[in-house]
């Protein structure tokens, strides 16, 4: 695409960020009263809502229970108005089903499922506006919603997508963190990594887009991993702020910290 470069000659990306800068993350926990836990997260212009129901009894499908741990069920859905071209089906197509499976896998590793045998935890994600790194934003929002629901996790699950800007004028290609929609569609690889930052473990890794040379994998993966750790700092601050607010509200209403 003529004229549109991922990285300008001054080292700035299409939205004015540096290669190692995340987009602005704003979030709120406890957005809805009906679900057990809910959260709203914005990563730049990508806006995601997460709702968690559970742990609760499995009623309809007895086959979907484990005798020794909880059954995790995730659903990824995009609102029909979330993309600039109107989407026909919010969910149920192949890509969404694949996302569902990936989310299941991630949260089965992160949630302490052994504490809730024969129960079920439902995680529902709704993308209100899609501007790149949709999957990562969903994982981050789901983490907040799970914390809001009081479900024990091994660690925060933070997710980040990184890419590689092609080399310009002899300089080596630059890895960039937290891609937006333009960077995703312009071609180039997209490495999506979900980690448990404090435990230093990777729970999910997915490479899409064009191929990535072996020598470039390490820098790109490291960018994603650092990005995820930075996101964890933001989420942690949000959670602590929310808990402090709840405690304050309880004290004001007289439910008291004396007990």
């Amino acid at each position: 695409m003529a004229g549109l470069q991922l990285l300008s000659e001054y080292g700035l990306r299409v939205d004015g960020r540096r290669p190692n800068e995340l987009r602005q993350i704003r979030c709120k926990m406890g957005v809805f009263s009906q679900p057990d836990g809910s959260a709203y997260l914005e990563q730049g212009n990508t806006k995601v809502l997460a709702a968690v129901y559970g742990p609760h009894e499995v009623r309809l499908n007895r086959s979907k229970t484990h005798h020794d741990r909880a059954y995790i069920n995730c659903q990824f859905s995009m609102a029909v108005f979330s993309t600039s071209e109107r989407k026909r089906r919010p969910r149920g197509d192949r890509k969404s089903q694949e996302m569902d499976m990936n989310l299941n896998q991630i949260f089965e590793s992160a949630i302490r499922t052994e504490l809730y045998p024969r129960s079920r935890i439902d995680i529902y994600l709704e993308v209100l506006q899609a501007d790149g790194s949709n999957f990562s934003a969903c994982v981050n929002a789901a983490t907040l919603a799970l914390i809001d629901a009081g479900i024990p996790l091994k660690d925060y699950v933070c997710s980040c997508t990184s890419t590689l800007a092609p080399s310009q004028g002899g300089a080596p290609p630059t890895p960039m963190v937290d891609v937006n929609h333009v960077e995703e569609t312009l071609g180039g690889p997209g490495l999506n990594m979900s980690t448990l930052p404090r435990l230093d473990s990777v729970v999910h890794l997915e490479l899409s887009g064009t191929r990535l040379h072996l020598s470039h994998i390490d820098p790109v993966a490291e960018k994603a991993s650092t990005g995820a750790a930075d996101i964890m700092a933001v989420l942690d601050k949000a959670v602590r702020g929310h808990v402090a607010q709840c405690l304050h509200a309880r004290e004001l209403s007289g439910q008291g910290a004396d007990a």
């Binding site: 809805f32 009906q34 108005f81 993309t83 600039s84 109107r86 439902d122 506006q129």
Partner: protein, 292 residues
């Protein structure tokens, strides 16, 4: 729409209160709960609105597409309603669980807007018989707490008020296919729709001899029947529907009373909604969305 389990004592309590025109939260039988409205939340859409009515949360977005007009009305455009029940509202809406409700709601909204008096479809025509605008009105239900169709109709009217249609002109025709051009920024790029006659739907629930407007989930669990009426600002009824499996006694005049009450409440609701929309459009507050 979680199942509410009420004891007989609770039901009796609600019933006695309603007989004295006092409900559990202190409202009278014809009062709505506080409604929050916000316009312009969805950037990718031509117009959008979010309505919060107690526990019900609905996001409505309007997107414009160029399409061929229907063959029996060549000088009109199209309105297409799509409702999506998100699983965020209740786990029963997972996968295809909410599809039946979604289809019913979309059909009801289509009927409410069917009359040319509610919405003049000829304003959407670009070239008679060949090209027209199709407004895709997409409703996303985020939380279900009662009075769902009321919230959806208010959201739709507000979203239409927020919608700006790009101005289109024909610049040439190339072997039978027309080339359309969207107007420049300088020429006044977009024009608003005529949304003032759009209807608001009001749900009335019947409890013995009383009629309740905007029933809470507990009140709905006590009520025998419900009536949904679409009311436009000039006191006309655009559609009626009896949802679920209740019925109204034909000769007790309660049906006539219900229609009259619905028109009264509907007109007041339309007026209040217009005022709120105008206030929002003049003040232009910064978008808050879900962050507050």
């Amino acid at each position: 729409m979680a199942d509410i389990l009420l004891s007989e004592a609770e039901k009796t309590f609600i019933l006695h209160g309603v007989r004295d025109n006092v409900r559990n939260d202190g409202r009278s039988c014809s009062e709505f709960r506080p409604i929050e409205l916000e316009l312009g939340l969805v950037e990718n859409a031509n117009g959008s609105a979010r309505v919060r009515l107690a526990n019900t949360d609905v996001l409505v977005a309007v997107k414009c597409e160029i399409d061929n007009p229907p063959s029996n009305f060549p000088d009109e455009g199209k309105l297409d309603f799509f409702v999506d029940c998100s699983a965020n509202a209740t786990p029963q809406f997972e996968g295809k669980g909410g599809e039946q409700l979604a289809v019913e709601l979309a059909a009801l909204m289509s009927r409410a807007y069917q009359t040319r008096e509610s919405f003049n479809l000829s304003t959407l025509s670009i070239i008679k018989g060949m090209k027209c605008w199709k407004l895709c009105i997409d409703v996303l239900i985020l939380e279900c707490g009662g009075s769902l169709i009321d919230a959806i109709s208010m959201g739709t009217k507000a979203a239409l008020a927020d919608t700006k249609i790009p101005k289109v002109s024909v610049i040439g025709s190339d072997e039978g296919t027309l080339e359309l051009e969207l107007a420049d920024e300088a020429d006044g790029r977009e024009e608003p729709l005529d949304w003032h006659h759009a209807p608001c739907l009001v749900t009335l629930n019947k409890l013995e001899d009383s009629l309740l407007v905007d029933a809470s989930a507990e009140e709905e669990a006590c009520c025998a029947a419900a009536l949904i009426v679409g009311v436009s600002p000039n006191k006309k009824i655009t559609t009626t529907s009896i949802p679920g499996h209740g019925s109204f006694l034909a000769d007790s005049k309660i049906f006539a009373r219900a229609l009259n009450l619905a028109v009264d409440v509907g007109v007041k609701l339309n007026t209040a909604l217009e005022a709120a929309i105008k206030k929002h459009q003049t003040l232009k507050p910064p978008p808050r969305g879900f962050l507050d």
